[in-house]
Symmetry: C2
Subunit: 325 residues, 2 copies
């Protein structure tokens, strides 16, 4: 197994220079950096930190806690977060919490016991008090917990504006939006709040379908979609997360409702499933950017760097599709 | 933080009985088991093993190495594997290797250094020799590595038979299948091999489109699908993985080709994306079962139990849909 000394010798630099390159913690010239990286590659050196840390105060592991790993938003998030964390020398542990909410608390305990160095938390069912008890590094996705815990999320006001503008311009008068009912208030509730506000300001009636607490499977989504068409047969515009909108399109096609002529659909998240088959008009969350920012924040917290921005808000994009004119 | 002693006192049993329940390693009556589990829940006890192991020879961590975490087959697999491993007291570390193939070797090194207790390996680009070098627990998904490494996979011969029967009965004469081109031979290549064999036996011409090495994104899939329609404009039946078939349906709709009348499509994997919108006729891999079997095997290997079946082959199912009559 090659050591940091072997890398230093191969690259013709000191061990501390190799360490700077690996940990990306100080100034190293581009030329030196490339030499060190070439030596690391050639020797197939694994930063020994990963091994040593186990007997020290760091594990080199960051936990990513999400509601459901399979869900396209979270699987995309984990893909990019793992890549970013790996580039920074950290390994990614994952955990789903839907139906196993006790895991959210378990991971905070693991953080306190230093089994993991930090948590990126997107599984939100605990009271804020549970988080406040921990002084160790946590970064939150989509939910403000307290001033000490940075949060990364999309600009949900902008997202609501884009989604509503689309449906208003297309002439919708009877809009229904799917609403989640988490135990706690998160940013995507704020999206729904703004949608309602914007549509009301434009004199448009807006109804809601509650999809139930932490619902994430196709089968559950399809039930909610059926419920919408039963309760609001005159609906002419629907706002909801990707898989809900795909379910609505499926049902509309079966019922012979013409999309987008008689029914407009707009998805929020805009993950790859909105481009896989029918092209769904979507407000796209910048998942790769959310991953990059949250990975940087958690590593900065772990390594004791100052956090300048505790509330990172990222712009969304409109993806034109075939479900709104 | 509650200890095993607190749990034992609460449940009115000995510490070793609590240990037996937690580790699932000996006979405990149903009644006792329930008492212990209730005490664990009430006290919110975390098996201290997770913490203690770090200073011992075990980390309590199993790595799941896949080509692409976001891909619906692998995100579904990780969801269920994490759940199974968690129930057995292990944490799941994840890693994508497409475009970062060096990680496959890195994780084997981490296994040898006891940073992880075992690896479930589904990222297959290394030579078998690299695996043979390790004597530590590995379980493979979809690729036979050597006698010492158990492998779990679907019955690809049965899968090929179901897919081909479907298209033969529907009267297809010009079938094209998408073929992966991994660096190594894996079970899904065997699926393609059998499809070709079965179709030839039935006097049906079958062509192949190579989707390139480790291709997993919507954009790449769509390119391959376009390529198919250009190269084989008279195609009347297509076999491919879920997202490729969704791309083909999208293109067929744009070209005005009537599915299933003039073109039949059958997907292999049958993940949730084949039920999200259009219902895709699919051969469904039992992903949850693959996860259960592979989780059991890796934990058995780690805990030194005898492995009775080194090659676990699981039945697939036909999911009827709207893309074949």
């Amino acid at each position: 197994m090659p050591s940091i000394k072997d890398v230093a010798e191969k690259a013709g630099v000191s061990k501390s220079t190799v360490s700077l390159v690996i940990n990306n913690t100080g100034y190293v010239s581009k030329e030196t950096k490339e030499k060190v990286e070439a030596a690391i590659k050639e020797l197939n050196y694994i930063p020994s930190k990963l091994a040593q840390n186990f007997s020290r105060q760091h594990s080199g592991i960051i936990a990513i806690v999400v509601p459901d790993i399979m869900h396209p938003f979270f699987s995309t998030y984990i893909k990019y977060a793992e890549k970013e964390l790996s580039a920074k020398g950290y390994m990614s542990m994952v955990c789903s919490v839907v139906g196993r909410e006790e895991n959210e608390k378990k991971y905070i305990d693991m953080l306190n016991r230093k089994i993991v160095d930090g948590i990126i938390m997107a599984g939100h069912s605990l009271d804020i008090e549970e988080y406040k008890k921990s002084t160790r590094p946590i970064v939150s996705i989509d939910r403000f917990l307290c001033d000490e815990i940075p949060v990364v999320h999309s600009n949900h006001k902008q997202a609501a504006q884009l989604a509503c503008d689309c449906l208003i311009k297309a002439g919708c008068k009877n809009i229904v939006q799917f609403v989640g009912s988490g135990k706690v208030k998160i940013e995507s509730n704020i999206f729904n709040f703004y949608c309602e506000e914007i549509l009301k300001q434009n004199g448009i009636e807006v109804n809601s379908i509650n999809v139930g607490y932490n619902t994430f499977t196709i089968e559950e989504y399809e039930k909610s979609a059926h419920c919408l068409f039963e309760k609001y047969p005159n609906v002419d515009g629907i706002i909801g997360v990707d898989l809900l909108i795909l379910s609505c399109l499926k049902i509309a096609n079966k019922k012979g409702i013409s999309v987008p002529k008689d029914l407009k659909l707009i998805a929020f998240d805009g993950t790859y499933v909105t481009r896989a088959n029918n092209e769904i008009t979507s407000v796209v969350q910048p998942i790769e950017d959310i991953a990059k920012h949250s990975a940087k924040l958690i590593v900065d917290k772990i390594q004791g760097r100052e956090i300048k921005e505790n509330n990172v808000v990222l712009d969304v994009l409109l993806q034109k599709g075939e479900t709104v004119f």
